[in-house]
């Protein structure tokens, strides 16, 4: 079953920059995909189109059966509830504890506090931060903060986890740890993971599908790829 399907997709920004040009792509349920490419290759645009932060100018983007290109503003939340987001800068709320940060996601979508508690505890357990749930984000290390961000992303059991440079702010050892957590989530709950990254070492070590973008075009798509530098003629 194809969870993500992108057909003849174009994205041209208002300033005339073409970020994505005639992109065709499909990602199956349960896959772990790396999206790589230099800055300005359209990697971030692709990621942002998956959760409709950006709308394609042309073509269709299907995510979990929803056509993102035709999704109305007032219905965006339906898509977002199927997706978990992990960010480079974590985006945690500084005044809330770890527990509250994760619970915030469920409160926002109107869940009852009785349902919230077990889900939050489970999510924190799977990233190994249960004992720190009463800490505030500024009392945690970068890696721990990213794990909170992952816990918040998976707490509502999303079908897809979208990670935009999740290890961009972390040192190599911690980065490895984060990717292993993502890998575990992928294997244990079958969550599809799309991860944009710059990290050569991680990509090479994990041996997962690698989609390489350059100037808005897919230059290679390998099932067990590695971080290669493609010559663009």
């Amino acid at each position: 079953m194809k969870l993500i399907e992108i057909k003849n997709c174009y994205k041209v920004y208002n300033n005339g920059v073409t970020a994505i040009a005639d992109l065709n792509l499909s990602i199956e349920k349960g896959e772990f995909v790396f999206v790589i490419g230099a800055s300005g290759s359209g990697k971030s645009t692709l990621i942002k189109m998956l959760y409709r932060e950006e709308k394609p100018t042309n073509g269709n983007v299907y995510v979990g059966g929803i056509n993102v290109a035709k999704l109305r503003n007032s219905k965006v939340y339906k898509l977002r509830r199927k997706i978990g987001n992990v960010f480079q800068d974590f985006k945690l709320l500084p005044k809330l504890t770890v527990y509250e940060n994760v619970a915030f996601a469920l409160e926002s979508i109107g869940l009852h506090s009785k349902e919230i508690r077990p889900k939050v505890i489970k999510a924190l357990e799977s990233v190994g931060l249960k004992e720190k749930m009463r800490s505030f984000p500024n009392q945690l290390s970068g890696g721990e903060q990213q794990r909170v961000c992952i816990a918040r992303a998976i707490v509502n059991d999303p079908k897809i986890l979208i990670c935009d440079e999740p290890t961009g702010n972390l040192d190599p050892d911690i980065s490895k740890e984060i990717v292993l957590i993502l890998d575990k989530i992928n294997k244990e709950s079958g969550t599809t993971i799309v991860m944009a990254t710059h990290d050569k070492e991680i990509v090479n070590r994990m041996k997962k599908r690698v989609i390489h973008l350059e100037n808005g075009v897919v230059v290679s798509d390998d099932k067990k790829g590695s971080y290669k530098v493609h010559e663009s003629n």
Binding site: Y51, N73, S74, V76, Y77, K78, L79, R80, R81, I83, N85, K91, L93, F104, A105, E107, S108, I109, G110, L111, H112, R152, N156
Partner: protein, 299 residues
């Protein structure tokens, strides 16, 4: 159930935000308090002026004296003409015959009584007192009546009373404009406060959007916040209006300067004003925040 939870969360967040942004909320509440006090003053003036005008209008009537030689048939003819004018500006009329006048004057004082007894004929005239529908056309109606037959004179209280009514009319319109302007200012102030709280919570809003909170559940807390700010801002004006007006009324014993200008009694009038202030506060709070939410919460 879910709707109730979203509603409850909206109210809770609104309270939290009012308390957390204490200085900002205080500023908005103070500003709306001041404007609402002015609104209340304008409303009280406007309503009083309206009542005073009504009182004065009752006093304004056309007095018609018939010619001395007029016969009973001619009086009846005149009556029927007045009756016909009821389609126009004539509201009602009363007839007083010269005999009635004589009787009244005799009762008024002994001097008149003896003086009138010396005369063989009745020197007084038959008269009509006519009340009009619209005081603003008093002059035109009088002119029209003057054209009728068998009339000695037709007059109305030209001058002071008429001018006073006209002046009050202007005052009433001006205060209404001031009230509307102040209401707009208050809505703007509350909207501005909401805009700042939206700004201070933009990270929270961003995350809510990313995890799939529906638009309504993001907007609701801000709408409630505006509602609360409006209500809190109307409490002081309500107290000031109730106590202030009762004190003022007692101080002047219900009359302003002369016995012509009668103030409206405080109860229940002032309670209606208080209720209106509360409603205005709540509604403009909501309107202000709705505008801010729509403009600054691009979702």
């Amino acid at each position: 159930m879910k709707a109730i939870r979203i509603l409850a969360r909206g109210i809770r967040d609104a309270f939290k935000s009012v308390i957390r942004n204490f200085s900002l909320s205080t500023a908005a509440i103070t500003c709306s308090s001041i404007t609402l006090i002015l609104v209340a003053v304008a409303m009280i003036i406007s309503y009083n002026v309206k009542n005073i005008t009504k009182d004065l209008e009752k006093e304004l009537s056309i007095v018609v004296y018939m010619k001395e030689t007029v016969t009973e048939d001619q009086i009846n003819e005149f009556k029927s003409k007045l009756e016909a004018m009821k389609n126009e500006n004539v509201e009602a009329y009363t007839f007083k015959s010269k005999e009635e006048w004589k009787l009244e004057m005799k009762n008024y004082s002994d001097t008149f009584s003896t003086a009138l007894d010396y005369l063989d004929t009745n020197p007084l005239l038959n008269s009509f007192t006519i009340i009009v529908k619209d005081v603003n056309h008093l002059k035109e109606t009088t002119d029209e009546i003057k054209k009728l037959d068998y009339i000695e004179s037709a007059d109305y209280g030209e001058g002071m009373a008429e001018n006073l009514v006209k002046a009050f009319d202007v005052i009433e319109k001006v205060t209404l404009v001031i009230v509307l302007a102040l209401i707009l200012v208050t809505a703007f102030l509350i909207g501005n406060t909401i805009r700042l709280t939206i700004f201070s919570r933009r990270n929270e809003i961003e995350i809510m959007r990313l995890v799939g909170a529906s638009n309504i559940s993001i907007r609701l807390p801000f709408l409630f916040e505006g509602f609360f700010l409006g209500i809190l801002g109307s409490i002081i004006p309500i107290l000031v209006t109730i106590y202030g007006y009762v004190l003022l009324y007692d101080h002047f014993n219900g009359y302003l300067f002369t016995h012509i200008i009668r103030l409206t009694e405080p109860f229940n009038f002032i309670l209606y004003v208080a209720l209106l202030l509360l409603l205005i506060g709540a509604i403009i709070g909501m309107i202000g925040s709705y505008r801010a939410v729509r403009k600054y919460l691009k979702i």
